[in-house]
Symmetry: C2
Subunit: 239 residues, 2 copies
């Protein structure tokens, strides 16, 4: 199923990529290229050796020497491959892989040489993941005292005009409590988010209702701790 070409001509690489994509395969091209992106921003990559990965869902990734994120990418638009002939020597020809011209996000990758081409039938992502905020919610529902002693959950993802509260319930004194969960050390945006929910709940519920806000996270930054205090919100640490 996997096919390979070493040091193909541009024509051979173009045919190889086109055929493989037509067969629903992913295509990897390693070679000297430059790239331009035009869409929500403009980006230009100078000439250099990179790897282009063309996935069956028409995601294009251009990877260079470092980093998890591609140096350039495009997704969602149809992709075409072609050899553009130079008027002079054939050595000035280019293999061009680019998104459909009509797309809002236009990526053009132009190879002056392709050193290796590989096509393969890739596995669909079917990963099992654990350790996310969703797991933290399960833990809190199984043991509400993690939020604070006496807390009792009444609903999850409760709607408010400001968005959904992760966990909604009442504290030991019977006050309404909105709980925001973060599974990483919390920053200022988490405090603001919780404050939005609490404010919205105070507006929605009877005026005499006391509404508390509790941020549950493995930690908070100092600035965030101060913001919580100023807003009358509570931080509750979980491992």
């Amino acid at each position: 199923m996997t096919r390979t070409l070493a040091d193909p001509s541009l024509d051979a690489a173009a045919d190889f990529a086109s055929d493989a994509a037509g067969d629903g395969l992913a295509v990897s091209l390693v070679g000297t290229c430059e790239a331009t992106f035009s869409g929500r921003a403009e980006r230009r990559l100078p000439g250099g050796v990179r790897q282009l990965l063309w996935k069956p869902d028409d995601t294009l990734l251009v990877h260079g020497a470092s980093g998890r994120d591609p140096d350039a990418w495009a997704s969602g638009a149809a992709v075409a491959v072609a050899v553009e002939r130079a008027s002079g020597h054939a050595s000035d020809d280019h293999l061009v892989v680019e998104t459909d011209g009509g797309a809002a996000d236009a990526l053009r990758v132009q190879f002056s040489a392709v050193h290796a081409a590989t096509a393969f039938d890739p596995a669909s992502a079917d990963a099992t993941v654990s350790g996310t905020e969703s797991d933290l919610k399960e833990r809190v529902l199984a043991d509400p005292d993690l939020v604070e002693p006496g807390f009792r959950p009444l609903a999850t993802e409760r709607e408010t005009p400001a968005g959904r509260v992760d966990v909604y319930g009442r504290d030991a004194d019977g006050n309404v409590a909105a709980v925001e969960l973060k599974n990483v050390r919390a920053g200022p945006s988490a405090a603001s988010q919780l404050e939005r929910y609490v404010t919205a709940l105070r507006r929605d519920l009877h005026a005499d209702a006391t509404v508390r806000g509790v941020l549950v996270a493995p930690g908070v930054t100092e600035k965030t701790r101060r913001l919580l205090a100023e807003s009358g919100l509570t931080f509750s640490e979980v491992s």
Copy 2:
């Protein structure tokens, strides 16, 4: 500089990858593999054909059929490659690429077969980008009336106890104005962010100072528009 192997044995692929990495090259392995990640979360990829990209900075990327983001990845930890012998048939051997065992984020990619291997000397990312929030700031400084008629900037990235204000200045009436820039349609978090800055400035400045907040963006969602209105903040549209 670029090297290629087609359908190598596991031993040959391991030597190839090890040598290439030692030479500071990037290595692409396409083959049947499964992968496990253990760190901030747990993740498991079942057996299937994928591409592993091992960059010179020891970033590992495992790409499958779809999406811009890898199905699994690791970065920052030393990477080792080895062939693990099965006690039975050699056909049960595995090529294993994994991060150093001591690393907090542990990725292990285990190939039962390698179909193609490529090594190349990748270009460093040296992209020029435009069209970001930074560009919007330049535009606003060059033409402050984009914020609102009469606005005059006094500082950028001004520090407050709640964070940095993108642009700090005074409006036509001499009131202090904090400007938050977004180069995409703004959501609730942008309104909260601006509110944090305005509240902090009111606290810091003399009690009699009027502090306004202006969100400059190509658009806002309806809920965000309401949040801004409730907080007494202004929205200013820019193209």
